[in-house]
């Protein structure tokens, strides 16, 4: 029961984060700025949840995000899966409590996603300097925002779970 509640709460908080990111991009679109903060959706499931429940959340979120973008359906599912497994694979190498570690993981995974999408979408624009200039600008801005907010978002999700009466003790990682 506790686990089901945990899955639901983490799923809905991640969904709220996704909606907030979209709304933020709605506002920033006036200045031709776009923030890609995809790694935010993987951090909590990857760092604080058991393997399967975390993967379930990541897979569903990936398909939700994927459904609205003009990439071949499943691209983000594959990318998010890769990102999630990277976090799981190396989760013993870093400390979740250390903010700089969290920032580093978020930044690296996000940059990997953005680069992969940029390469997939670069057909016809691969040699266009504007394309890569815009990509680098978006990458830098997204990275900066991510570094600033990733630990805060993680903390908020943890706090929300605690307020919902779900203890994280004993449920974390190393599975």
């Amino acid at each position: 029961m506790n686990e089901k509640r945990q899955i639901l709460i983490v799923f809905f908080t991640t969904l709220v984060i996704y909606i907030i990111v979209v709304l933020l991009n709605n506002i920033l679109s006036t200045y031709s700025i776009h923030l890609s903060l995809d790694s935010l959706y993987l951090l909590f499931p990857g760092l604080y949840m058991l393997f399967w429940p975390g993967y379930l959340i990541v897979a569903v979120i990936a398909l939700i995000v994927d459904a609205l973008i003009p990439l071949p359906f499943g691209t983000l599912f594959i990318l998010y899966s890769l990102g999630y497994f990277l976090i799981r694979q190396f989760n013993t190498r870093f400390r979740k409590e250390n903010k700089s570690h969290v920032m580093f993981i978020a930044f690296i995974i996000n940059s990997f996603f953005m680069l992969a999408i940029a390469l997939v979408m670069s057909r016809g624009s691969f040699f266009d300097e504007n394309y890569w200039l815009r990509f680098l600008t978006d990458l830098s801005l997204s990275g900066l925002v991510l570094i600033l907010i990733a630990p805060l978002i993680l903390e908020l999700q943890r706090l929300f779970l605690q307020l919902s009466g779900i203890s994280m003790t004993g449920e974390a990682i190393n599975d």
């Binding site: 979209v22 679109s29 031709s32 459904a67 609205l68 359906f73 799981r88 999408i117 815009r134």
Partner: protein
């Protein structure tokens, strides 16, 4: 060795001592879930690769429709918020706005009369010269739910779909001119590809010159107004910063009616083959912050769909 190294990594062994096969085997036996991430990843990728396209398409539509109510609800909430922020305006401000609107209405009423007279003249000439009639459109106004404007794609989601008879490929416009065209239609929402999108391409012409040119969208830099490009411009056409030329739509493309503004050209230069000219088209800045758009649904197509 790779597998052993993988097991060691998976188990979180931080020691960098020499490889011990017996220890690794025992560790793998003790912890049967070791190595799971990579196995599951490979399995997930294989599974996704094997899933038939029909299933993927069904999944995509399902997930699209699943989140559509959320975006619609947010849009209604925003409208509600706007309504309450407008309610806080003073009565004097509202009276002034009402007066401005009344003046505008009067001006539009006059223009409407002129428009009707011109329409009658056009239909008379069409009959006289036995010309095919111009395409007619039904206008469907829709609110913008979300904007995805990045270097990879430029699209917006609008709050009307099949429920209002929207069709794929239909032209989308606003008060400033062309917005784009409908790329996907779902039950209650539709995706519009913007004119600034790198994949957008239509036939266009200079205002007052009916020779066609090709307009296409481009990647936009941050903090700049959106832009696109035109190509296949005849060598005798000129434009410069002091006298920018307006680029408008043409019905040759069979999407847009004639004369809708796409943007303005401030300079033209020779193309790589030297036969034609190319130029950058400045689009309207409002394209980046649209809240409401109008979809033009061709009446002939709509009637054909109704008959089916």
């Amino acid at each position: 060795m790779v597998l052993a190294s993988f097991f060691r990594t998976s188990a979180g062994c931080l020691n960098t001592g020499p490889f011990n096969p017996k220890q690794t085997f025992l560790l793998a036996k003790k912890l049967p879930f070791i190595g799971k991430p990579l196995v599951v990843l490979l399995f997930a990728l294989l599974l996704w690769w094997l899933v038939p396209t029909v299933v993927k398409s069904f999944l995509r539509i399902s997930f699209f429709e699943f989140q559509a109510p959320a975006w619609t609800a947010i849009s209604y909430l925003t409208s509600f918020q706007d309504f309450w922020s407008l309610r806080s305006r003073s009565k004097i401000e509202l009276i002034k706005a009402g007066q401005d609107l009344a003046r505008l209405n009067a001006a539009y009423e006059l223009r409407n009369q002129q428009y009707e007279a011109l329409e009658a003249e056009i239909s008379r000439l069409e009959k006289l010269l036995q010309l095919p009639s111009l395409p007619e459109y039904r206008f469907e106004v829709a609110r913008v739910l979300r904007r995805d404007l990045n270097s990879w794609w430029q699209q917006i989601l609008i709050r009307k779909g099949e429920n209002y008879g929207l069709i794929e490929g239909a032209a989308v416009v606003y008060s400033g001119g062309v917005v784009g065209r409908i790329k996907e239609v779902r039950q209650f929402t539709s995706v519009v590809e913007l004119a600034s999108s790198p994949k957008f391409r239509i036939a266009a012409q200079f205002d007052g010159d009916n020779r066609p040119v090709t307009y296409y969208g481009s990647v936009n830099r941050i903090f700049t107004i959106p832009h696109g490009y035109i190509k296949d411009v005849q060598p005798d056409v000129s434009a410069d910063a002091s006298t920018p030329r307006r680029i408008v739509t043409t019905r040759l493309g069979r999407i847009f009616p004639d004369g809708l503004t796409i943007g303005h050209v401030r300079n033209l230069g020779p193309s790589s083959d030297g036969l034609f000219q190319v130029g950058q088209v400045e689009l309207n800045k409002e394209l980046l912050s649209l809240n409401e758009v109008t979809v033009l649904i061709p009446i002939i197509v709509e009637n054909a769909l109704d008959n089916e």
